[in-house]
Subunit: 203 residues, 2 copies
């Protein structure tokens, strides 16, 4: 199929797949639009700019498309009114649903992000920052609905995401941290229960 | 002062300081006992082995001496019977008390650990693993004392440490994650309160 007959949506997805492969190998700093174009089988890098403003916007789309928890919060409206137990369990499952490929991207990007401030910012805005912002809004809504006690949602969001981090980090990078055998589902159930008990409305 | 008159404790501290500098620059994988000896002004690397079994043991001592939260849990007996609010606040404060130098070591070591399994293991056993193991024992003790409800302490330990991670990671590596202005002390107070409410004994 020649280039001009590729549908726009397909082309966009192809670019994202190609970008994922290039980011996985080169990291955020090392990847270039030129190389991503080559990987996607596109003759001119200019075409990429037609779909994505810059490398950073493309990176954000890659995480949005490939990291389940970012994908989950991208669709805010659908979970905003779910009861906390259901919404947080859903979010937590998405959080633990990293694939091997995502771990590779994450490994590179985190390694880079902790050394280079501009990568750190791109990473936060594309990934953890979006999850935290979603959670703040979600928790605020739950307080309004009287399902959670009034509390500082900046802390609430950090707490819930954070509770899951040692388990996820253990699974992805630090097996010695999870050798006590606790499973993702067990931990998620315990975390959701403790978090919601801790923030239950005064009775 | 010539080498043979240096007191053993001083020598040990000097080696740890030198090792910190070398680990900060080279990471765990890149550092060699030879270079650490040179940095410490010691003629023979063999002397280092008199104090520390191997590079890994030395690394563990460096984190133990230099990372406040690891230092805090090294002294288990003293906090084991403190009431949870006090003990967890103490632990949390130590957690947030990273110095610039520690951030540099951490940056390098984490970057390395997520790429190389043997560094990951050394890192976990020297740092986060010790904190988690301490917390499990501490939480078990509190359950025995009737101060906390029975729960899976593997989860409890991950939850409490985890709750603080986004704030600490923001402070050390990802400023965009903490630009909402929440302070360490505010977050710690909220986290301790929510955690303890969530695990309060049935009344």
């Amino acid at each position: 199929m020649s280039e001009q007959y590729v549908e726009e949506g397909d082309r966009r997805r192809e670019i994202i797949e190609a970008a994922l492969r290039v980011f996985s190998e080169r990291g955020f700093g090392g990847a270039t639009i030129k190389e991503i174009a080559r990987e996607a089988g596109i003759r001119s890098p200019a075409l990429i700019y037609w779909y994505f403003k810059d490398k950073r916007a493309l990176f954000q789309e890659v995480l949005g498309a490939k990291v389940p928890v970012v994908r989950a919060v991208a669709d805010l409206a659908r979970v905003m009114d779910l009861p906390p137990e259901e919404a947080l369990t859903k979010l937590g499952r998405a959080y633990f649903a990293f694939e091997r490929m995502d771990a590779r991207v994450l490994r590179l990007v985190i390694g880079e992000a902790i050394r280079r401030p501009e990568v750190a910012e791109a990473f936060v805005r594309a990934g953890p920052g979006r999850v935290l912002e979603f959670l703040k809004r979600y928790l605020e809504r739950q307080i309004e609905l009287g399902r959670l006690r009034p509390h500082d949602v900046r802390s609430g969001a950090r707490m819930f995401v954070g509770m899951l981090i040692p388990q996820l980090a253990g699974k992805l990078f630090f097996p010695a941290m999870v050798e006590d055998g606790l499973t993702d589902e067990e931990h998620l159930r315990n975390a959701v229960e403790t978090f919601l008990r801790g923030l239950a409305p005064e009775s």
